[in-house]
Symmetry: C2
DNA sequence: TTGCTCAACTTGTTGGTACAAGCTGTTGCG
DNA sequence: CGCAACAGCTTGTACCAACAAGTTGAGCAA
């Protein structure tokens, strides 16, 4: 029973009340000065405790408004279904999923050519710094930023399939377009990781402190050759990826 | 070009230097008082900036020692291989993976019976608060905490397969033991999520601020019935999950 | 009623001070 | 030589003060 610093006692007490649902009616927490009086601590000390809870992702703060318990609503991503689908750069799966969930999808899209980032060059087995085409999606659900998706194609593939480098949608989907040109995607290599967002990611996804991002990197292969690398960043607080494996089709519509 | 607060300017400048590799030799950062002089800011302001970088997972701090750039070493988890494996409660896959990577595996293990947590009860389709058997692993790599794995079995399954509730390993593996008793696992439902660790998780995994956890929840089915629910928490800074899908076997030994 | 101003609240930023606590190398005693 | 004590560095905790900036509702004027 070692003595904890006061700011940790504040954080622990508030955390206990939060998980016990003490603030479930209106999710507002007492103000810093109220807490300061209640815990007989200075405003700075209370702020340290609250900052801890913010960095744990338990609460948020807004200037002028106060602190709020963060809501826990998550959006399910059926990732295994993507396996059997021509991976749609025009966002078919995303549109369908979001609409089915009763939400409103919205996305912006752009195409550019640029030197491949190192982690992309490694996966595409091309020279570090060599050119690649980036097709980039910024996706929203109910006007809330949801994910960013960056798909890189190596330059050699563009020579054979020039429409990839043109701005605008490819109506039939990029996978079908590539297949029609003899490039068939036979498998994926998926990597899933998590970390705190970079400032750039925090800006695009409008996440505050205490919210990690979920990184999904899918490298698609045609024969031995990697033909594309898709890096998707999801808000960690609002997304969960699901995989169904084995004879389970349709058994898990709940949760 | 809106004016940023001074502590953000400090954080931005240091972040830029860190990603450019300015501290790559010894990973030590200048001390707070040095930075205070360099940026013409008070120690408190510099500390705010550094706290930001800590919460981004970019640096760590230790009392008496200073701030260090966090190392980026990650450990690859081949998750798709788990699909075709009797899921070993005795840690066969873990032991093999870690040993093959030239690391030293170590784990502690315990068994207990307790009321199922709500999220487990939901997945096992049992009454909230009803009893379940928990088989719990705490895994280390080179004496560093790596993951915790909690597998819950519903009480009805224990009546048919009592050894699950006994402490100690089941040598042939729980999946084989269950299969021998007529309970065959035909599929999984995987969920992958991320969030900041609870204080309990931070203690078990010895992670500091700015490191999220990767949550892997696997529900195993025998026919319609869920027979177990495994919740694994990984340190987000040291782990990455890989799935190989399609005709790719063995093509990705690098990275 | 409508719309504006402003007071009164909220958190955010920046400065200051003091001391506690952890680490390391030096010093000097035995 | 061996080792304990200490000085001098580091970050951690806790307090105080003042002002900036965002939000809301009261209240007044048109």
């Amino acid at each position: 029973m070692s003595k904890q610093p006061k700011y940790r006692q504040v954080a622990d007490a508030l955390r206990r009340e939060i998980v016990n649902g003490a603030f479930d009616r209106d999710r507002r927490l007492p103000s810093e000065s109220e807490l300061s009086a209640r815990f007989d601590a200075s405003r700075n000390t209370v702020r340290s405790g609250l900052a801890l809870l913010v960095s744990e992702g338990l609460i948020t703060s807004s200037q002028g408004l106060g602190y709020e318990v963060r809501s826990q609503e998550v959006f399910e991503l059926n990732a295994s279904r993507f396996e059997n689908l021509e991976f749609p750069q025009n966002g078919d799966a995303y549109n369908t999923d979001v609409t089915n969930a009763g939400r409103r999808p919205h996305q912006t899209f752009r195409v550019e050519m640029l030197p491949a980032p190192e982690e992309v060059a490694d996966r595409l087995k091309i020279e570090k710094g060599s050119k690649a085409v980036l097709r980039f999606c910024h996706r929203y659900v109910d006007d809330m930023p949801w994910s960013t998706q960056a798909t890189y194609y190596p330059a050699w593939l563009i020579e054979e399939s020039p429409r990839l480098a043109e701005p605008g949608d490819i109506e039939e989907g990029t996978t079908r377009y590539l297949a029609a040109r003899g490039i068939e995607q036979i498998g994926y290599f998926d990597e899933i990781a998590t970390r705190m967002p970079t400032p750039e990611e925090a800006r695009l996804l409008e996440v505050g402190a205490g919210v990690p991002v979920l990184l999904w990197t899918r490298t698609g292969y045609s024969g031995d050759r990697p033909i594309r690398c898709t890096i998707t960043t999801f808000r960690g607080d609002l997304n969960r990826m699901n995989y169904e494996i084995g004879e389970l089709a349709g058994r898990n519509e709940n949760t």
